[in-house]
């Protein structure tokens, strides 16, 4: 998984590394926006800072050519709901008078097991369509991670992509800088789309994407500190605090399991047996009792949930710890809020079954039976 930086954070990092970005200020109120445009002048772009793709098309980016438009844009965007996220901050940025929009990006190509750099003259919001319809319009170069991006490789894809000759070396230098940032920060993706070529033939990073490999955050305290909680709802925020892999869905069968593959399979089976999953919740490997209790607490907190299935196949996770956690969580209730079906298998499953308070839960021996019963429970409860 990745930690996403906001555009303004990525641009700060890019600018520090020497990549030109338009003048900009971060603002979280209409007044701040107006101060910013006063300083920057017009035209100015007002851009929502939320972790959502397709901001522009969804109304999260507006161009203001005078004070009235700026104020209107600020009022519209600040506080708006953008695909479930509330906009709390906008980046107010000098508008760029551009002639071309290029695409420049680096990501990990998992099929090759190495990073790949990409350049195209067809930058802009439709780059994915370009990739689909005219893949040859995007020049690609794989990078040997032991050597990094050789200067010749940066030149090669820039020339292959047909970047205008007068800015070719500037764009190649962007790429080299981006790769340095990609490697130094353990990025999973890094992207400038678009790179704008101005009428003065300068190149400017008009947007900035930088996602960081979660697994590498331990060695990037500076980046970890940039993480801003902006969860869609309080349940996802809670999952973040607990450190669960959690996704909220729209159904009514709450699902808890260990291991992404098994949890996904449990979701699939809920669907297969006619139910609808309320969530994906992976407690991970080796969970102790407290973590198990937290997971149940999470799922019970979701008012959509009518029934819960707890599916554990222990490898590192031990059945006795799971049973203890379930008992702890359920014994605190006077009445169990939703019916819970438990299926325990694998390491210490027998010990777990001995500990488990079967007055509080329904026990099933197989995955299929457990899911079917949970789906039935949900149907009964929701009637």
């Amino acid at each position: 998984m990745v930690m996403k930086l906001h555009e303004y954070q990525a641009k700060e990092i890019f600018a520090e590394a020497g990549i030109p970005v338009p003048e900009s200020h971060l603002a979280s109120s209409v007044d701040e926006v107006m101060e910013a445009v006063d300083e920057i002048g017009y035209p100015a772009a007002i851009k929502a800072q939320v972790h959502v793709g397709g901001r522009g098309k969804a109304g999260g980016i507006k161009i203001a050519t005078d004070e009235a438009e700026a104020r209107q844009a600020a009022e519209d965007i600040l506080g708006m709901d953008l695909k479930g996220y509330t906009v709390g901050k906008v980046l107010v940025e000098a508008g760029v008078d551009f002639e071309n929009e290029l695409y420049v990006g680096i990501t990990m190509d998992r099929n090759e097991g190495k990073p790949v750099a990409m350049v195209s003259t067809e930058g802009g919001v439709n780059i994915e369509e370009v990739a689909e319809e005219t893949p040859e319009a995007i020049a690609r170069e794989h990078i040997d991670p032991a050597f990094g991006l050789h200067p010749y490789q940066a030149r090669k894809i820039v020339f292959e992509a047909g970047i205008p000759r007068d800015v070719a070396f500037d764009v190649a230098s962007f790429l080299s800088t981006l790769y340095d940032l990609y490697e130094a920060n353990d990025a999973s993706d890094i992207e400038i789309n678009p790179v704008m070529i101005t009428s003065d033939r300068d190149v400017v990073a008009a947007d900035a994407v930088m996602n960081i490999d979660d697994d590498a955050l331990f060695r990037h305290d500076d980046l970890a500190a940039m993480e801003e909680d902006s969860y869609e709802d309080e349940l996802e925020a809670k999952a973040g605090e607990y450190g669960f892999d959690y996704v909220r869905l729209s159904g009514n069968v709450g699902i808890i399991g260990n291991g992404a593959g098994l949890v996904m399979t449990t979701l699939d089976l809920v669907d297969y047996y006619g139910g609808t999953p309320a969530n994906f919740l992976d407690i991970g490997g080796g969970a102790k009792a407290e973590r198990v209790a937290n997971a149940l607490d999470m799922v019970f907190s979701d008012e959509n949930v009518d029934s819960v299935v707890f599916n554990i196949f222990g490898g590192i996770t031990r059945g006795d710890e799971v049973a203890k956690g379930i008992n702890e969580a359920l014994e605190s209730f006077d009445e169990i809020p939703k019916p819970v079906v438990v299926r325990l298998a694998g390491t210490n499953a027998e010990e777990g079954m001995e500990i488990l308070n079967t007055d509080l839960v329904q026990v099933e021996g197989t995955l299929e039976d457990a899911v079917q019963r949970a789906v039935e429970n949900a149907q009964e409860v929701s009637q």
């Binding site: 993706d189 490898g315 995955l367």
Partner: protein, 289 residues
Amino acid sequence: MSIFVDDDTRVVVQGITGGEGKFHTRQMVEYGTNVVAGTSPGKGGQDVDGIPVYDTVSEAVEKEDANASVVFVPPAFAADAIFEALDTDLDLVVAITEGVPTQDMAKVNKRLSETDTRLIGPNCPGIITPGEAKLGILPGNIFEEGNVGLVSRSGTLTYQVVSNLTERGIGQTTAIGIGGDPIIGTSFVDALEAFENDPDTHAVVMCGEIGGEDEEQAAKFIAENMDTPVAGFIAGRTAPPGKRMGHAGAIVSGSGTGTAESKISALNDAGVPVGDTPNEVADHIEDFL
């Protein structure tokens, strides 16, 4: 027969003095695995349950003639541990560690291509040849000797499918969890090729999941190169699409690949039946045998 590990596998456990390392070393030994050494830099000369501990893998290999390692080293040091293992020309390195940074693994992958060593993982449950050897964290008691090979990207899903098989009395030649990380050592194709070449493996289960293109490549390999029948399972049919930002990933992978539909239809096209439930997979295997 079996693939990759057997009675002759002589294991060194990297990170043997850590909590997980110590616990699973015991489990492996109990299962009958020939664990000949462990490593823990600075703790050379100590022992864990009578297994000698060395400062370096090269010393463990030299003194105890190990030919495989299992890595239980924490994520920050795991890539270095794999590099160390690769430097000693072991036949097999099994990296259990979860959370190894992807760029570390890209470097490991480069180094791996220079050696003849097989890497399984990281972020995987390991490999087991029932009745002979277990390298990793798989719960040994659910496996049984037999003639079905199993390869899976997911740990606990592996256990699920194996238990569906074992409950019907269908044993396994070897079961491998290859791990679900973006960059892994042994792919589906590598494992399938080995199973195809193993005369004792009469059928193979392949458990995939959404993301990446490894299953699609496996389908192609099966269609072109395999006589041994394969049954499949794909987890994540109902998984919600992730919230993505940036286009780089989509440009590289293309928009159509990586979905459950794409994988299932690729497998079906290759003549591989895909079960709707783990139990259905066992049904297909039963039909094959």
